[in-house]
């Protein structure tokens, strides 16, 4: 089965974003960009269902369940690097849809729908949210546009006979759904621990093909629906006070009226 994995280039998760003084947005210049961590988990999951997981004895991953992995990114020219990372982890080929402006999840979902129609995958695995805009929308929107079933926030994905059994992290605990394929799955943190690409695989990835596309190739009007009014710093907390003893702590909590 063919799997499509969308990957987004975002500010590295270790870095703290800077708000532009004029309030027009955030300043990402000269900051390290990486693949969205939830998308790394998505790539890893696809690769395990393709290669198996020999280091995890008795795991539910069966080599060959997935036969081809297509990594797609929608973003600037440099998002090619993000696709290369996915290729180095084990994806087979890439598609870059070049878009210089930051596209909203709805526009991204529409472009992905076009790619799904062209590629005909049985499964699309996406990160549950991108750690830049924290929207948590694209997978669900793509499922709606395709009229496919969805299983979001996955912590376990089992593939059997044209179906997927997906365990989801929900507010009260865990929920398992059976979904018919083709389907949309979005990843949560506990689904797997992504690998680091090895040097030989990074070299090999350089030779894997990446198709270049534009939103217009899929007939998508990517004009934003939301106008940014402003971007501001969050209110600052007055923290930093220390207490020396537990008694001082309890007295402080009493004075603050919280115990």
């Amino acid at each position: 089965m063919k799997v499509l994995v969308p990957v987004k280039r975002v500010l590295d998760y270790n870095l703290k974003v800077r708000v532009k003084p004029d309030g027009s947005g955030v300043d990402l210049s000269n900051l390290k960009m990486s693949m969205n961590p939830f998308d790394e988990i998505a790539v890893e999951e696809a690769v395990r269902h393709k290669e198996g997981a020999p280091n995890l004895p008795n795991s539910h991953y069966k080599a060959g369940a997935v036969t081809e992995i297509v990594a797609v990114s929608i973003g600037p020219e440099q998002a090619q690097e993000t696709i290369r990372t996915a290729l180095a982890m084990g994806a087979d080929r890439g598609v870059l849809v070049k878009a210089d402006a930051d596209l909203e999840p709805l526009a991204v979902a529409k472009i992905l729908k076009g790619i799904v129609e062209a590629e005909q995958p049985q499964l699309v695995i996406l990160g549950k949210q991108a750690i830049d805009d924290d929207s948590n929308q694209t997978g669900q929107m793509l499922a709606a546009l395709l009229d496919w079933p969805q299983a979001t926030f996955a912590s376990k994905l089992e593939l059997t006979n044209g179906r997927a059994s997906v365990t989801r992290e929900v507010d009260g605990g865990l929920q398992t759904l059976a979904v018919e394929l083709p389907a949309i799955v979005t990843t949560d943190l506990r689904l797997n621990e992504p690998r680091y690409a090895s040097l030989p695989n990074i070299m090999k990835a350089k030779k894997k093909p990446i198709d270049m596309k534009t939103p217009a190739d899929y007939g998508v009007d990517a004009a934003p629906r939301l106008a940014v009014v402003k971007v501001a710093e969050p209110p600052k907390r007055q923290g930093g006070a220390k207490v020396k003893t537990v008694d001082e702590l309890v007295a402080g909590l009493k004075a603050a009226g919280v115990i």
Partner: protein, 314 residues
């Protein structure tokens, strides 16, 4: 102007998040209706009708809605929106799962995790793990929002809205519920709790996590939370995770024990009223936002704290 609030409930009872989303809806202006979609959810619908200021409760009841799975929820809600200018969900795992599916069906760009409402079309939300606050104006004819419940006061009780029964969708659907493991809690629910005690990687094992945190949580009547590191390591269940990609909490008192204070964790708790941090590393970033920082080993500090609370008559 009319706003539809999709109720957060577990069939048996209505969750407090619903009251908070209703109060967000009231800030948009106009009439507020509440949809209770579930199975044998009559009690939740009754409770929704008692929320102050609610005009009408729509109650859809049927087997397909038992677990509020995205497909049937979308099939129910998308057509209902014809009579509304906005649809609001709580930013819970249910709301986050369903809302974007409804929004895409309506060709609307959803606005996620709203913490501020500045009118019928202008909304504030955190981005980049809460390190920036984005204000956006929507150009879409309808608005679809998920609302961060902790950012709004709960609407009161005392309403007497009418309850209108509407049909549940029949399907067929391509996804089906198989099973669930719901953690039974004798404690307050994390996102609504007035006090939260959270543990991090320092606790070292599931046994230690429970042995150390439970007596303190019991003493304080607190919910228990955890950092991602503690959840990943299996010390605590997934639904304890507080943070950017877990639950957002804003209790009156948040006690962080053996948690370093990564930005992803802070995103989920920095709006707490009073923050206590117990950490043996005085450089830990959690201290920068703590109101009461105690540089100490939790192994001695937590038992001492229990004894001191006892002595203080808590």
């Amino acid at each position: 102007m009319a706003v539809l609030v999709v109720a957060e409930h577990d069939n048996a009872s209505l969750k407090d998040a619903t009251h908070k989303v209703v109060s967000a809806a009231q800030k948009m202006g106009g009439d507020v209706d509440v949809l209770v979609a579930g199975h044998n959810a009559g009690a939740a619908a009754q409770a929704a009708a008692k929320i102050a200021g609610v005009r009408k409760v729509l109650h859809a009841d049927g087997a397909s809605l038992d677990h509020q799975i995205a497909e049937p929820m979308q099939a129910l809600i998308a057509p209902l929106t014809a009579g509304y200018d906005a649809v609001l969900f709580a930013a819970t795992t249910t709301g986050k799962n369903v809302a974007p599916r409804v929004a895409a069906k309506l060709d609307v760009m959803q606005i996620s995790g709203v913490t501020g409402i500045e009118g019928a079309d202008t909304f504030v939300r955190p981005i980049y793990a809460g390190n920036a606050m984005l204000t956006v104006k929507s150009r879409d004819p309808k608005k679809v929002l998920t609302v961060q419940p902790t950012a709004f006061a709960a609407a009161g009780e005392g309403g007497s809205a009418s309850i209108e029964t509407i049909p549940a969708p029949d399907g067929p659907f391509k996804s089906a519920f198989e099973r669930e493991e719901i953690v039974k809690l004798d404690r307050p629910e994390l996102t609504g709790a007035k006090r939260v005690v959270s543990g991090g990687r320092a606790l070292g094992s599931a046994e230690e996590f429970h042995r150390v945190l439970e007596p303190l949580a019991d003493k304080l009547g607190a919910a228990i939370g955890a950092s991602r590191a503690a959840v990943d390591a299996g010390y605590a269940p997934n639904d304890y995770q507080v943070g950017q990609t877990g639950k957002v909490v804003a209790p009156e008192l948040y006690v962080a024990i053996g948690i370093s204070g990564a930005i992803q964790h802070l995103a989920g708790m920095k709006d707490s009223k009073v923050i206590v941090a117990i950490n043996k590393d005085e450089e830990a970033p959690i201290f920068q936002i703590a109101d009461f920082g105690l540089v100490a080993d939790y192994k001695t500090a937590v038992p001492e704290l229990l004894a001191a609370l006892e002595k203080a008559g808590v």
